[in-house]
Symmetry: D5
């Protein structure tokens, strides 16, 4: 089942540039793992914003939640999830 997931990341102003960079590197590692697991399908950037739109695939919303919560930046992410149904014109 696919989900359209939109999130903004807003690390606190008090976080050091080093810590931010360290977390971003971990984030990229974890994102790569989630792609290999087939959970994270595609990411896009919303132009002009620190927002990301993504296409995710998971058996249900609980597995999706756990995948999102495993991202190192999760404590500073504002996430919204939209469940998608298969369109009859798609032969998936």
């Amino acid at each position: 089942m696919e989900f359209l997931v939109r999130f903004d990341v807003t690390p606190p102003a008090s976080m050091s540039a080093d810590e931010r960079e360290r977390l971003r590197a971990l984030e990229r590692v974890r994102a790569t793992e989630l792609r290999e697991l087939g959970i994270l399908r595609r990411l896009w950037r919303v132009p002009g914003r620190r927002s990301v739109v993504g296409l995710w695939e998971a058996p249900d919303a609980t597995v999706l939640h756990d995948a999102l919560a495993s991202l190192p930046m999760f404590p500073w992410m504002d996430v919204s999830v939209e469940a998608l149904a298969t369109h009859p014109q798609e032969q998936k």
Copy 2:
């Protein structure tokens, strides 16, 4: 997987009272079938409104869509669906 589903039903003003009653009876029959299939779990009425809040269970959003679309009143329903994840305190 569970879904919180909210809908309003607004049959067109031009529909006769008889036709409306006939559709409502069919609606009750179909709802009973969906309960027996374990897809429709609970319904509540929003007080003062022709709106309904329901708890539904389906393997994914496509099966849920097909269940909702099988309701005789579907062409006049405005539906919104929210995917729910299991809360860690629930042992389902």
Copy 3:
């Protein structure tokens, strides 16, 4: 009478991880008590968010308020309550 209750918990950034963990443990204890009292019926997690949707049952809104205010995290919770009426198809 049933209520659909939605809340976000946002502990202040200044709260230590220990204090947060201590409050979460107390929260679980209190939630269990409210379940045993039949006030808290079900909880769901909104995927990707620190938000919770719950089904509560209380004789009126004042008792419900007192139950919610008894949660250890209440000072940092943003709560919205929706009163539900019984749907004619439910034989409760």
Copy 4:
């Protein structure tokens, strides 16, 4: 338990002035009965609008719904209900 209830009445343009007047008279009769039953407590008019704010009292949201649905204008009313809890400064 008290409820703050807000509604707009928008009879269809096709309804004759006579029918509208007849329904309004029935509405006043029914409102008087609901006052005598102690369900309808107070009504106010929102200035400049065909909207009404009311204070209602009912044991639960299901009884409130049935009272609202018994108003002759109910099919053309858009209603929103807010459950109220007793304020500690009120000795009701």
Copy 5:
């Protein structure tokens, strides 16, 4: 003239518990005075929230503003005011 007044109180995180309690006691005293003056008519609590709905009566919006601004918690209150007209069914 009556007004429906809704407010949230959010004292700053930096305010000590003692100061908060002292202000709340002063608030109760002032609210009692406003009731005796016939300006504050009724208060309700919005369940699950630190929000209050109240029915106030004042000759005009300027007197109402002064009454609200005299509350010790006013600097931390977010207030919205709705002017109410008399409903023809009320014989006030």
Copy 6:
């Protein structure tokens, strides 16, 4: 007491151009009377829209409502009213 009143007028598509013109003429007559009574103080047009912003003065919201309801176009007006308090810098 002053009120900021905003309204849109949307006569039904079925109203003839003649009837519309007749109502507009009556509207101008009634507006002139309300100005002479000191209830209607100023009108502005919202550029590009059939919306009007006005400054009205009335002893209370009930008198204001009756003045608005006396406008011949009232049945097709969508009105919102905002109560204003005197600003301390104004010596009215």
Copy 7:
């Protein structure tokens, strides 16, 4: 350049079932052509709604507009378009 496009289709109540079916068939033909041109990439259904979310690719917004406007149902579609930028983690 990719675009996230969301639309609802609401054919008028007066359209016959035959005409609706005829247009839907034409719609499927045109959608297939747009897929072959590489403009339409993916479609999803929003569960419970007559809404569609799609991923489109076009050199600019003018070409995208022309592709959307070529759909036989376009006169009854309410469309919103969001421009997407490439995410640095995607090697497209």
Copy 8:
């Protein structure tokens, strides 16, 4: 003075295709005149919609209103106007 003007045009379903085409032709003529007068500066289309964003220049909002109201499609346009100030980086 410049204004950002956004409008949707929704001719009524009952308008014939001929009448619509006739009005569109008149619209193009009037738009050309407004460009020559220097009131209409630029137009853009919102992709996927029958909405238009435009840059207009007029000595004040009253002149702008009259220019907009002179468009043959004005009775079916929903318009919103935003006043713009000169940016210090622009040497106009």
Copy 9:
């Protein structure tokens, strides 16, 4: 040209009471100057709030912006501006 201007003033919590009072006094001086220049016409207070509604007059939005930006509290003001057109019933 007239403008309806609405603003909230929220000085930072860290500003001392003395500094706040000093700025308010400067604000009153500047407001008096703007009244004498004919730019600031009227001010009203939104009851229960630290919000102000004002009627301003300026040749264009750039002059209005400069007048607003000259207020000593401007750095802490959240301002919204609405351009007004002359109503045909007003002979200004």
Copy 10:
């Protein structure tokens, strides 16, 4: 391809006046470069606000994002981007 870009700049309260002025000067330099590259076309100020509306031109949203992200104030900007299509009346 053109884009309508709207942004607010809110540097943190903790930033010194010197640092703010230094960044603003760098911002002007970078804006001039983007104008010379033909990416930044026009800027307007929203009256009364620290908001800017701009007309930008870029081959796609990714190039636009990179241009916006190159502004020295970008970390404190809240940006929204609207893709524009060419209007048939414009011969660009």
